[in-house]
Assembly symmetry: C2
Homo-oligomer: 232 residues x 2
DNA sequence: CTCCTTCAACTGGCATGTTAGTTGACAGGT
DNA sequence: ACCTGTCAACTAACATGCCAGTTGAAGGAG
């Protein structure tokens, strides 16, 4: 395992050094370049990133408070492992926030918002047809972000993302065999229809049903990637 | 302004020094000992707490990522100010989570949980009668914490607290003139009744109505404490 | 009197030396 | 062969020195 590729990134960003290190590590953890359970050696990170221990320590501290790394006092720092119970909690929280968001958007939506959602949905259909799973994944994320953005509460999307960091890592694991983009598009379509009809109840129900799919598909992962999960 | 009183606290806690400093500062900010907008001088904090700059910097970094302090690079660190728009966002998020929680609890509740909620509610009635606003405030917080605890998701209560840190500070401002504990008790009673009846819709509605009260009572604060609010 | 320039003092950010605690392996005894 | 006590190497945590950017006040020009 090497992180030589990250050395390039480090000075292509701006802002305080500590924050750049934080971003690099965070991205690496979220896209599983640093896999769950991996031990992070401060000394090695300093050397490979070409910075001193202060910004690295600061970055690891923030990641720890986000739950992305576990710091064992005086001993070691490791990328936090996944756990089904934690994924279920995050799923619950994410559903709570997104259901509330879609209800508000259904009540307040304007034509421009409908247009942007509709455009994103057509893009999803195209990507699904082309079997471009990576692109589809991003369009999917965008769809949900758009809805939260349309609440008029700028921090809501960020908060929802913060609440479901583990979920985001777990989703990467089932990316290759996505396999059900068509169903996803239909579920998204149902959500958009409810928003267009300004039917709050239907919007809640559609979003809830859609998000409920994820946790069932996540359950088998614990067997498929046992080393990525916290021993229970 | 002095923080001499905190010097006693610092070694009465345990764990890493950085985390102790973090706790002390966090508590001070949340109970408005450090009022919104106040400038925090790293050097002064180090001297008064009797520690070096490393743990203080670490603590301020975490507080910054929580939004409790604003760090102006190369210049100053200040306790973050309140803003009505931010309070509205947090109110929205808090309502989303607590409404989802109460619906789940209404579905799953057992007798022991009903007993504990009922006991807390009787305590609230007593404290309201005695005009013990401080005690009532704590019982109120406990009531909501109990519901979130009963979801079976241990992190939900913590997440909800994390999402509404500004809200928590703002509530302190209207503590002295609480004035409506009786209405609050009745709203709590309605929530408990819905939980007992396992009526999810009623539970959602009761919780939503209850939490909706807060933001209207918060609105006048911007005039009453202009220095605590971000200039808009 | 007002505005601009300059400079000194202060701040946060970073690097690095030092300390204390944990861990795992090795050696010695059972 | 196995258990146990000891020790060496490693880690995170802390202290401190240094630097660069910001700010605000003082002084000079208009």
């Amino acid at each position: 395992m090497t992180v030589e590729n990250l050395v390039v990134d480090i000075d292509s960003l701006d802002g305080p050094l500590g924050h750049r290190v934080y971003s690099v590590l965070r991205n690496g953890i979220l896209d599983l370049t640093f896999h769950p359970g991996m031990i992070l050696r401060k000394g090695a990170l300093c050397e490979q990133l070409g910075v001193s221990r202060s910004p690295v320590a600061e970055a690891l501290g923030k990641l720890s408070s986000e739950g992305l790394v576990d710091i064992i006092p005086q001993s070691a720092t490791r990328v936090s492992q996944l756990s089904l119970s934690e994924l279920r909690e995050e799923s619950f929280l994410r559903e709570a926030v997104e259901v509330a968001a879609v209800a508000k958007v259904a009540a307040d939506r304007n034509d421009d918002q409908l247009t942007r959602l509709s455009r994103n949905l057509r893009l999803q259909a195209l990507l699904a047809e082309d079997r471009d799973y990576q692109g589809f994944f991003e369009a999917d994320v965008d769809f949900h972000s758009l809805i939260m953005e349309f609440t008029g509460y700028p921090k809501v999307a960020a908060a929802a993302g913060q609440l479901s960091l583990q979920l985001r890592r777990a989703r990467i694991l089932l990316l290759p065999k996505e396999g059900r983009p068509e169903e996803t598009v239909q579920e998204h379509q149902a959500i958009l229809d409810a928003i267009r009809a300004q039917d709050q109840q239907a919007a809640r129900a559609a979003m809830s049903a859609h998000l409920g799919q994820l946790i069932t598909r996540l359950t088998p992962l614990e067997q498929q990637h046992p080393t990525y999960f916290r021993p229970s």
